[in-house]
Amino acid sequence: MVLVLALGDLHIPQRAPDLPAKFKSMLVPGKIQHIICTGNLCIKEVHDYLKTLCPDLHITRGEYDEETRYPETKILTIGQFKLGLCHGHQVIPWGDLDSLTMLQRQLDVDILVTGHTHQFTAYKHEGGVVINPGSATGAYSSITYDVNPSFVLMDIDGVRVVVYVYELIDGEVKVDKIDFKKTTTATHSLTKNT
């Protein structure tokens, strides 16, 4: 059981002062094995905070990040899964699933995690899964109205991944989960378990 925290688009301090208190109390150091961050932290203090939660931190560059040396994309292997990470402002049209699956093919990954729209989505197709953890702080977005703070926790176990999405709606944390199972490594496809 490997826990991966996926989050991004915090936009601290320009658009939000901090993560919601209810999220902060849930995110405790030592429980998570990897953190993948889509970008737009935007400052070093956020980087340092995430590092205290888990030393294995992966970040891709958002267009407002202070640190310009984060990579545009990142690929990592966790368990049986190849994960791809990219902020998403580079993929036009923004938030367009077909264009995102093109990036997924380009990076050749099972799970693609991108942000930019501040809207949580999880989409399964024959090539894999595309996840957007939304904005962890609920920051203003020109693309999405009424952003609820959200982040994603993935539980990777062999060829199976359970995606938990945590959303702060009207002051309460709501959780939802989606199951994905990789069929065979040869065909690179994922089927949804209901």
């Binding site: 301090p13 320009q14 658009r15 939000a16 002062p17 267009e63 407002y64 402002h89 580079q90 036009i92 049209p93 923004w94 367009d96 077909d98 264009s99 699956t101 093109m102 093919r105 380009q106 050749d108 024959e126 090539g127 203003y140 020109s142 693309i143 109205y145 690179h188």
Partner: protein, 300 residues
């Protein structure tokens, strides 16, 4: 963070804070201006939901008035200077103005963004990101009439083709293809201009290959061609009549030939990308129905 439920009060707060911020000087402005801008944009959104104008007070709380303030506020960043940040903020305002149906205001924000791009952003990496932000924002605008939209898309495509590195040019130009095809109900769907962009990016990719051949002795990787193939596929599936299955077949054969050629540097990443693209086409064929029929004559 600034907050007040009453829009008029909120605007007063914003105006007051703004006066103080403006005296902050170049070291502080890059930190204070964005926060103020986003507070103001949130207020605009709040006002959008209300009917009619809020009248009264020295400064009426209307989106138009707020955008005027925003224009002046972002302008202050030129004293820092912070052109990349200012460009991003102008684009945010343009999108907000479009949502408020204020065509001239949105156009003005785009003008400011383009001026910054032209005059202040010289770094090629920064230009690449900036032009993508411009294209991405413009793609979503539905407030512009034909003339204004044409002027802006023409500018965007022109700048894309002038980026320094050929691969960057190629990618920016094919990104522009999306400016001419918007999936909404009333969105523009100009199949011909889409194809023109794709063909142009193909020419650039060819030129990049030849240049690599001439200067380094072997062609670069075929990644660009595979990216363009994926864009052809995208518009083919959206129903652009100008994109034919023959064109897709042609590209597949071109890439296959290039990859097998002795003078091409082998590259596992582009191999994998091409393989997953072909897998995708195969899957679409097997779907049957309308999609399967579209791909019938394509051989992978």
């Amino acid at each position: 963070m600034l907050h007040n439920d009453d829009p008029e009060e909120m605007l007063k707060i914003i105006c007051t804070v703004r006066k103080h911020i403006m005296t902050g000087g170049p070291k502080r402005l890059p930190f204070t201006v964005p926060s103020l801008v986003f507070s103001a944009l949130r207020l605009v959104r709040q006002l959008q939901g209300q009917d009619g104008d809020v009248i009264g007070g020295e400064v009426p709380a209307t989106p138009k008035k707020i955008f005027q303030l925003l224009n002046q506020t972002i302008e202050a960043l030129s004293t820092v200077p912070a052109p990349e940040l200012a460009l991003r903020l102008y684009l945010q305002c343009a999108e907000a103005a479009s949502d408020c149906d204020l065509e001239p205001v949105a156009y003005e924000f785009f003008t400011q963004a383009f001026i910054l791009y032209e005059e202040e952003i010289a770094d090629s990496k920064a230009q690449f990101t900036a032009i993508h932000l411009i294209i991405g924002t413009l793609q979503r605008m539905n407030v512009f009439g034909i003339e204004n939209r044409d002027t802006l898309t023409h500018k965007a495509t022109g700048y894309s083709a002038k980026l320094l590195k050929k691969p960057d040019q190629c990618r920016a130009v094919y990104a522009c293809s999306h400016l001419f095809w918007v999936d909404d109900q009333d969105g523009i769907k100009d199949g011909e201009r889409v194809l023109l962009c794709l063909k142009r990016s193909l020419r650039i990719a060819n030129a990049a290959q030849q240049m690599a051949s001439a200067t380094r002795g072997s062609s670069g990787p075929v990644t660009l061609f595979v990216e363009i193939l994926n864009k052809y596929i995208y518009f083919f599936e959206k129903g652009n009549p100008q994109i034919t299955s023959a064109a897709i077949q042609g590209l597949i054969e071109l890439i296959t030939t290039e990859m097998q050629s002795d003078s091409t540097t082998p590259d596992p990443a582009s191999d994998a990308f091409f393989a997953s693209t072909l897998r995708y086409i195969q899957f679409q064929k097997q779907k049957g129905g309308v999609m399967g029929e579209k791909y019938e004559s394509v051989k992978v």
